[in-house]
């Protein structure tokens, strides 16, 4: 058992090193409260980080699948805003005079289906018309953003407070237990799909060598299509959390989320070329980024400097993984 553990650490341990490093650094550099406790390690602070990162964290899970399949999805930030606005509109503007649960359920379902449909569009165009994933999802990133702005008249849709459906939705979904456990549960499911199911096996084969996978008779298009649908749906789910946390549907939110998600995936050791990657790595990558922000904010470090430090972290993390493998694919 311990042998297995060390074997696991050896194979998948690299992202953990970054995580441990950030935790140690954070502990050492953390400001102290008046009673001497380390602010960084307080449960309230650490769960704040988890809640903050849950949106990007959930998107990054789906992004891991897309990237392992040798694709990319730039539309997730726009889908997040789209979902936040659709759910807010349905909770505030639409009044079915039914039970609260029904109204919330319909609003949630509509957002998720909307996100999944963007994924269907991305996936179909990429697998059938063979547009490059970058180009297609760049187009949907722009288009979905425009659609969301048109839908809301480019104004924020505020959620209500109290016993009305929108107020209850916001209270539950933005709560730490809900958002964090949802993220953890999805991460476990994603991990199991990737390593223990036929789908995960096919995805890794297709991502590494699509031609050989096709020559083996694998359903290459279907597997790739599913990654984009999943990515659209999970981006929409993150949008629901976003709406609840910000208490509004803002059509201009979520800009740059796609790059945060990709950064988390890449720090986690998933190869942009496809075929290789792990959910454990992605979760770690998300946490590294979140904890880093947290440590710096506790010290009131200028947010511009924070971005520069993040840049260094991304380069360093990927470079470490390259040198660790000891193999260079290029010349």
């Amino acid at each position: 058992m311990t042998g297995n553990f060390w074997k696991y650490v050896k194979h998948h341990g690299q992202p953990f090193i970054g995580l441990v490093l950030i935790l140690v650094l954070g502990t050492m550099l953390s400001p102290r409260a008046t009673d001497g406790t380390i602010v960084f390690l307080e449960p309230g602070n650490l769960t704040d980080v988890l809640l903050q990162q849950s949106e990007v964290g959930i998107i990054a899970l789906a992004m891991t699948f897309v990237i392992i399949g040798a694709g990319i999805d730039l539309s997730v930030g726009s889908v997040l805003a789209f979902s936040a606005c659709v759910s807010a509109l349905m909770l505030m503007v639409w009044n079915p005079h039914g039970p609260t649960v029904l109204q919330i359920g319909v609003a949630v379902a509509a957002s998720l289906i909307g996100g999944a449909l963007v994924g269907v569009l991305n996936g179909l165009v990429i697998t059938r018309i063979h547009l490059q994933p970058f180009v297609m999802t760049l187009a949907t990133m722009i288009g979905v953003r425009g659609f969301t702005k048109w839908l809301t008249g480019n104004v924020n849709v505020d959620l209500g407070f109290g016993a009305i459906p929108s107020g209850q939705f916001a209270e539950v979904v933005s709560s730490k237990p809900f958002a964090i456990s949802l993220w953890i549960a999805l991460a476990i499911i994603a991990h199991l799909i990737l390593v223990r199911t036929v789908y995960g096996r096919y995805l890794r084969a297709i991502g590494e060598n699509a031609r050989a996978a096709a020559y083996t008779g694998l359903p290459v298009r279907g597997v790739r299509l599913a990654t984009y649908i999943g990515c659209g749906a999970l981006a929409a789910l993150a949008g629901l959390i976003h709406a609840a946390r910000s208490h509004q549907g803002n059509p201009n939110d979520g800009v740059g989320y796609e790059l945060d998600a990709i950064a988390a995936v890449v720090i986690g050791g998933t190869a942009l070329a496809g075929g290789r990657g792990s959910i454990v790595g992605t979760v770690t990558g998300t946490l590294v980024l979140g904890l880093l922000t947290n440590v710096l904010r506790l010290h009131m470090v200028d947010s511009n400097l924070e971005l520069m430090i993040k840049a260094v972290i991304i380069i360093a993390a990927v470079w470490l993984q390259h040198s660790g493998r000891g193999v260079r694919d290029d010349l």
């Binding site: 036929v198 096996r201 075929g275």
Partner: protein
């Protein structure tokens, strides 16, 4: 003119050229023949400075020369028209003609008009009537080849190597090319004509040299030799054909292919019986691999029909073909067969993983049992099934691919040159394995470049020439010469 002495070249453990001595005369058209892998292309590449020989010397007009790259050879007047066209698809015709041509690229600033003016006479020479400003990817394959020839002309080469120049040309383009060759000859240009096509060689060449297994077998004047003799030299008479004990095949027809055409096949018909090993012979570009691609749903079928076990069979994709019990071991293991970074086990079970899973959830124990079994049946040697498959030798990689299909229990297995580039021991294992598969009632179709291998292992041999089936012969009585005669397009039976 050009002479080479004792040229020796090996790649890893494989000797590509053995002490080759060869001489070219000024203004002659000299054919260079040999089976696939005989060393023709390697020799051409060495003479043109693209590849460096291990030993030996090259003399140009009596003076020893040492090429330090294709540029120096080009400056000395040697041009090669390669088999695999190294042209640039997104550049214009004129730009392609100018690249690497110091006469046209005189300064860093290139005027398009000057380029076009320089390109037009070259294009006229090869009989191409098109706008030099066109990007190359708007051209047909045949036109590409003519542009490649024009490029060699633009270099004012004194010696031009043409490696299978007519493989992609239409009939009238071939006639124009022959006219051009005659004109070049009158100008004193020496042409080395590498080809498999006997009829062409005897039409336009003055002398013919034959290579076999990296050795220069002999050079004769075309007038003093015959197609028959050249073919005998190519295959070598000394090789005694070993014939393996073959499992007798059943009478039941498994697959029937009736007049099937694709982009590269023209009305090919054959039947495959249960338990039969059907060999497929043909030169590169004859459509050997295309038979498998059509059968496996990779090439759209434009005409004809297939029946599998009496029912109509029209595969739309490899996925579809696999579902019908058809398997294909591709020619290019790395690009088309293996997921090289994945483990050996995952590669072996990739096509059949659905069987070892419930509701998509993989049963790892069942998977391990299946992969261990398949790897053992194929006599694969490995250290750990978890290691990436790229850590294996070529022969063992091939066995992993065969094992992958064994687990799907196919009805038909198409092997595309399965023993290419693998060691003798692994070859022997694969021969035995194919025999066993046929013994179990599978239909095996086996493409090979090695005729002795087909004669030894196949029941019948289908011979292709330029996409057509030119004969199906009984392997028990056929000789290598029979096959080669058919494969080179020389249909008339010789006594």
């Amino acid at each position: 003119m050009l002479e080479c002495r004792n040229i020796h070249k090996h790649y890893g453990g494989i000797v590509a050229l053995k002490k080759v001595n060869w001489k070219l005369l000024p203004g002659e058209v000299h054919a260079l023949c040999g089976e696939n892998g005989a060393g023709k292309s390697t020799l051409a590449r060495i003479l043109c400075g693209i590849t460096m020989p291990d030993e030996g010397e090259i003399l140009l007009e009596g003076h020893p020369v040492a090429w330090t790259g294709s540029q120096t050879a080009r400056q000395a007047g040697l041009g090669i028209i390669p088999q695999e066209l190294d042209l640039f698809a997104h550049l214009s015709v004129a730009e392609n003609l100018a690249i690497g041509n110091t006469r046209l690229e005189t300064s860093a600033w290139v005027s398009p008009r000057a380029l076009h003016d320089a390109a037009r006479p070259l294009l006229r020479d090869v009989g191409l009537d098109l706008d030099p400003a066109w990007p190359l990817d708007r051209l047909s394959v045949s036109q590409w080849q003519l542009v490649a020839i024009a490029r060699a002309l633009g270099l004012d080469a004194k010696i031009i190597f043409m490696d299978e120049p007519t493989s992609a040309l239409t009939d009238d383009a071939v006639e124009r090319l022959f006219g051009l060759i005659r004109r070049l000859k009158e100008r004193g240009v020496t042409i080395v004509y590498v080809s498999h096509k006997m009829n062409e060689i005897f039409r336009i060449c003055d002398r013919v040299s034959v290579m076999r297994d990296g050795e220069m077998i002999g050079t004769d004047a075309c007038a003093a030799t015959s197609i028959d003799r050249v073919i005998q030299q190519m295959v070598g008479r000394a090789v005694a054909t070993i014939r393996r004990e073959k499992v007798s095949m059943a009478d039941e027809t498994l697959l029937e292919v009736r007049a099937v055409s694709t982009r590269k096949l023209r009305a090919v018909s054959f039947t495959l019986r249960r338990g039969e090993v059907l060999g497929v012979a043909g030169l590169v570009g004859s459509g050997r691999s295309e038979v498998g691609r059509a059968l496996f749903g990779l090439s759209p079928i434009t005409g004809g029909a297939m029946t599998l076990e009496g029912r109509g069979y029209q595969p739309l994709s490899p996925h579809d073909a696999v579902a019908h019990g058809v398997a294909l071991v591709p020619e290019d293991r790395q690009r088309e067969g293996l997921i090289s970074g994945m483990g050996i086990r995952q590669n072996v079970t990739l096509a059949s993983i659905g069987k070892y899973s419930r509701a998509s959830w993989i049963d790892r124990d069942e998977e391990a049992v299946a992969s261990t079994d398949a790897l053992a049946k194929c006599r694969t040697r490995f250290a750990d099934q978890e290691l990436p498959v790229r850590s294996l030798s070529g022969g063992n990689q091939q066995k992993v691919l065969i094992g992958k299909w064994l687990l799907t229990h196919p009805k038909i297995c198409f092997f595309d040159d399965p023993t290419r580039g693998i060691d003798i021991g692994a070859k022997d294992d694969i021969y035995r394995l194919v025999g066993e598969l046929a013994g179990k009632g599978l239909g095996v179709i086996w493409v090979s470049s090695e005729l002795p291998e087909l004669l030894a292992n196949a029941h019948r041999i289908l011979v292709l020439h330029e996409g057509r089936c030119v004969g199906i012969i009984d392997a028990a009585t056929a000789t290598q010469e029979d096959i080669m005669r058919l494969a080179t397009g020389h249909h008339v039976p010789l006594s």
